[in-house]
């Protein structure tokens, strides 16, 4: 546990010292700003205020950018260590590999959550400038559920990016593999859920698509199966990453 904290501190420091983190942060915040402007247009054109949290958390600007943004955060996790040889220096200390993988996972997840912080500013603006007393914003339940969605979807995406990074010594390869996997699953989910005629396909799409999950959660609909789906998938992918790191010693 002590070693986990030590590694996590180091991970956070590295994360916030890397220039790429700030480039990613800049672009993500520009996108969030764009998303908020778009949301205001929708509201001005008569969309009900109830949809505000939905657009805030699940707006297409953000949903479509996550499969790009997350691999950019996670690409360096193991690829960089492997390239520089510091993985050797790490693995020859008395640490346990799960602690190493988890510290990297939580480090990246923390940075990802920092990326979402402006959401509270936007929510505050909406609350402050709600046009009349009848309109209730924020809906705390929906805001809380949306945040939960951010964490759940983020965990799975970060773990997938981490797995890709553990497979290669090249950060670019790690990033592109991450884009590929995340975009494929994301788009497959969206297309299945919204564009197929086949009802079974639609059902499957709704079941697996993170876009749908995010939309539901941001409306305040919390399904236990969604929570379990994300937690178990994240755990499974992290387990795979642990095995990958262990297998490199053979």
């Amino acid at each position: 546990m002590k070693i986990f904290w030590c590694l996590l501190k180091k991970e956070l420091r590295t994360c916030f010292l890397s220039p790429i983190a700030f480039v990613v942060m800049f672009f993500f915040w520009v996108l969030m700003g764009g998303n908020f402007v778009w949301l205001l247009y929708q509201l001005a054109n008569g969309a009900p205020i109830l949809t505000a949290t939905q657009l805030l958390f699940g707006g297409p600007f953000i949903s479509f950018s996550l499969p790009i943004v997350i691999p950019l955060i996670t690409m360096r996790l193991f690829a960089e260590e492997r390239k520089m040889g510091t993985l050797e220096a790490l693995l020859t200390t008395p640490l346990k590999i799960p602690a190493l993988v988890l510290s990297k996972f939580f480090g990246a997840l923390f940075f990802y959550l920092v990326l979402w912080l402006p959401i509270f500013v936007f929510a505050f603006i909406l609350a402050k400038f709600s046009p009349s007393a009848e309109i209730v914003f924020p809906d705390w339940g929906a805001l809380f559920a949306g945040s939960l969605g951010v964490i759940l979807v983020g965990s799975l995406y970060v773990s997938i990016g981490l797995l890709m990074s553990s497979l290669t010594a090249n950060q670019i390869v790690a990033a592109i593999a991450g884009f590929a996997v995340l975009f494929c699953t994301f788009l497959a989910g969206v297309f299945l859920a919204y564009t197929t005629a086949n009802p079974v396909g639609r059902m499957l799409g709704h079941y697996f698509s993170s876009y749908t999950h995010m939309y539901d959660l941001a409306r305040g609909i919390v399904n236990t199966h969604v929570i379990i789906f994300y937690l178990s998938c994240t755990a499974w992918v992290l387990f795979a990453a642990i095995r990958v790191i262990e297998s490199k010693r053979l």
Binding site: L7, M84, T93
Partner: protein, 314 residues
Amino acid sequence: MIKVSNVTKKYPARLAVNDISFEVARGEIVGFLGPNGAGKTTTMRMLTGYLEANAGEIEVAGFNLYTHSEEVRRRIGYLPESCPLYPEMRVDEYLWFRAELKGVSLATRRAKVNDVKERCGLTDVGKRIIGQLSKGYRQRVGLADALVHDPELLILDEPTVGLDPYQIRQVRELIRQLAEQHTILLSTHILPEVEAVCERILIITDGKIVASDTSENLHRMLHSTVLLEMEIQAEKEEALAALKTIQGIHIRECNTLVGGWLWIEMDAESPTLRVELFNLAVAKGWSLRALTEKEYSLEDTFVEITQRAKEQSL
């Protein structure tokens, strides 16, 4: 301290280490020699638990590496070949992080970090960013990192690569000091270094240990002859032909020096053959300005041993 028995390591394309066995006793300084690609680094990586052997047993400080890997790693200070460091960190931060990672308690951490900084000559660069340090300083940071948790066994993979001669001497001195409390296994290409520091030498070629002894014993084992060096002023062909007539002399090398001098190095079956060489020079009327018995260099021994091993395996 280290007990390696019948260890084999296969990479997908080749056999890196082939059924090696050796032991290192507590308090020894052992030099690990071998040509590039002989399996030195692979062996060291297996000892530190970074790579897993395909077959065989490794025991370090009484712990089996497979069942008690963590205990073993706790007792090893390892300096990897490329000396990997985090370039974005400061020296102090890095050593602090490594000490914490290796389980040095908070109470003693500051003292330990300061101690290794002093021993490795890093006191003045504690606040500098590692990425901006010269190769020599980085190497010292790596060495300080290997020492910071006061390990029983030090495994140093080419500790003096990239250092200037002055720093090399410092590192050697440091290694000698460390030998009082630690067991050391170090690999290097630089042969005089091994002779200067190590008590025992392990030579590995093509994944096999071909020799393990003190450097004097290795020489003795290989050479029943002594090495003689002579400088004379004479015609080259004539001199060589005349020298060949002496029984028990084998010429290794002959170079022409300035002023018509010849420098000749030869294997002689006995050091007393010098008398006959002197008599020959007198008889031929050559001027003689040097005639000495020399020590075989470790380089000669090393080349010979590795070559012999190659021939045997063919």
